[in-house]
């Protein structure tokens, strides 16, 4: 596996080198991070105190004869190479842009603002419910499809919108042990396409405020290897509300998602509504020091087959942290995490992370 990763990286670097000899030189950029996490007790994976290199995130973007291309490759855990994003795009006007490929689902604020480069996000990790599919995330944060978006200045403020059509996700078994969402990269496993939308307004009356609404509708099936949860198919509707507000050195961000699952199996034929939300407050001092506080909550409706398949449990977590910006490319973050409740367990974690953009 490592040989395959290395050969692909060498291929990528060769392509970049050859491109530099042609008229369209791609500039390779990336992110890297190293972290240390220690949990005090509980059944936590970090109880021994673990150093870990995070993701090596390589990306390139270029506009060639008015066609935009963006590619993001991530090496995770040393031997997993994922093509996280690849999009082709064309900008007709500020009010109409078309993108096609694999991209982040236009759901809420965090998922469209922060991708894999952790240097950009204020905290060490994403909120639990917004984690990537293969990290145990519960929302379809990646999608393969087409996306139109745009922005317009109006009398009441700047309005942004987006609408997407793509493959819906499925639930599959990873290593035969853990079930995860899968974005169906190559083909859809049913006839129903997933649709998503988002709309946001930055009202001119309140500078620094942005309010958004987003949604995602899909039919979800699970692979035959998944033995728990979804029996037949499940219709899912996700509705999200996001709010960000900057006032002086203070930044607030909060998102709430309602996840409604309708089980189509003849055995149950039930509806379930679960929800997840987080609130984050940061304060920027001298452009260098950014203390932050985040609270996250996931409330799962009992017997919801979707969450049974994914093994998701009720979760409450409080994080207090400090980010120190060494310069505009690099930062060190330190966090104390209080896992108040995760499946009736509770424990503490301490984490450090050093990140770099290059």
């Amino acid at each position: 596996m490592k040989k395959r990763v290395m050969s692909r990286l060498i291929l990528l670097i060769s392509v970049l080198f050859l491109s530099s000899q042609s008229g369209h030189a791609f500039e390779l950029n990336g992110f890297a991070d190293v972290s240390f996490t220690k949990s005090t007790d509980g059944a936590d994976e970090f109880r021994k105190g673990d150093f870990a290199f995070g993701a090596l995130d390589l990306y390139l973007a270029q506009t060639m004869d008015d066609i935009d291309i963006l590619v993001e490759l991530v090496v995770e855990e040393g031997d997993v190479l994922d093509l996280e994003r690849i999009t082709l795009g064309y900008t007709f006007s500020d009010a109409l842009k078309l993108r096609a490929g694999r991209f982040h689902t236009p759901l809420g604020f965090w998922n469209t603002s922060y991708h894999h480069g952790v240097q950009l996000q204020p905290t060490i990790d994403r909120p639990h419910f917004l984690r990537f599919e293969d990290d145990g995330g519960i929302l379809p944060v990646h999608v393969i499809g087409a996306y139109v978006s745009g922005r317009a200045d109006t009398a009441v403020g700047a309005i942004e919108y987006g609408a997407m059509l793509g493959n819906g996700p499925r639930i599959t078994s990873e290593d035969g042990v853990v079930n995860v969402l899968h974005p169906n990269n190559i083909s859809d496993n049913n006839n129903s396409k997933a649709i998503a939308f988002n709309a946001a307004i930055s009202p001119s009356a309140i500078e620094g405020l942005k309010i958004g609404l987003s949604g995602h509708i899909a039919e979800i099936e699970s692979d035959a290897t998944v033995t728990s949860g979804i029996v037949d198919t499940l219709d899912q509707m996700i509705i999200g509300v996001a709010l960000t507000y900057s006032i002086g050195n203070i930044q607030l961000a909060s998102e709430y998602f309602s996840i409604q699952d309708s089980d189509n199996s003849t055995a149950t034929d039930e509806d379930f509504t679960s929800n997840a939300y987080y609130g984050l407050i940061t304060y920027t001092l001298l452009d260098k020091y950014v203390p932050y506080l985040m609270y996250e909550n996931i409330s799962v409706k009992e017997d919801d087959p979707y969450f049974i398949s994914l093994g998701t449990v009720d979760t409450r977590e409080m994080i207090a942290g400090l980010r120190y910006n060494i310069n505009y490319r690099s930062a060190v973050k330190g966090e104390y995490r209080r896992i108040i409740d995760m499946g009736d367990l509770d424990w503490n974690e301490y984490a450090l992370q050093w990140t770099l953009a290059f």
């Binding site: 973007a61 963006l70 900008t91 500020d94 991708h115 452009d287």
Partner: protein
Amino acid sequence: MNNMMRWGVAVGVMVLLLWGNAYAMARELAIVANKDFPSNAVTAARVKEIYLGEKMTEGGVKIKPMEHHDEVLKKRFIEKVMGSSIDGYKAYWIKKFFQEGITPPTNKASSADVLQSVAQTSGGIGYVWADEVKGDGVKVLLKVEVGN
């Protein structure tokens, strides 16, 4: 004229001379665009949107912003027009480039390069010192006083 009045006149003349000298030395920065650019004038707020990659088209023409390599001029532009620090501006573009794949303004080595590229590029827009603007292929959309 008594001594008090003479001193008053002398101090007044000195203040006027110093103010005039300072005014004479205050430099202006010019936002220039290709002569076929759909607008003949822009506001500083619009320039900021363009250089943040928020506004990408104007009247059906794709805007192609260009950056000046000269550190002094670039610093004045970023601080006075963009209202940001150099590091804040660079950090913004790392984020924007990564998030949306929008490429940052292209760097040009000198004012002559900026003027030449803007003149030759449909939708081209750039900034130079106002007293360096020359050539038929560009037009000035905005002048901004950026201090000494």
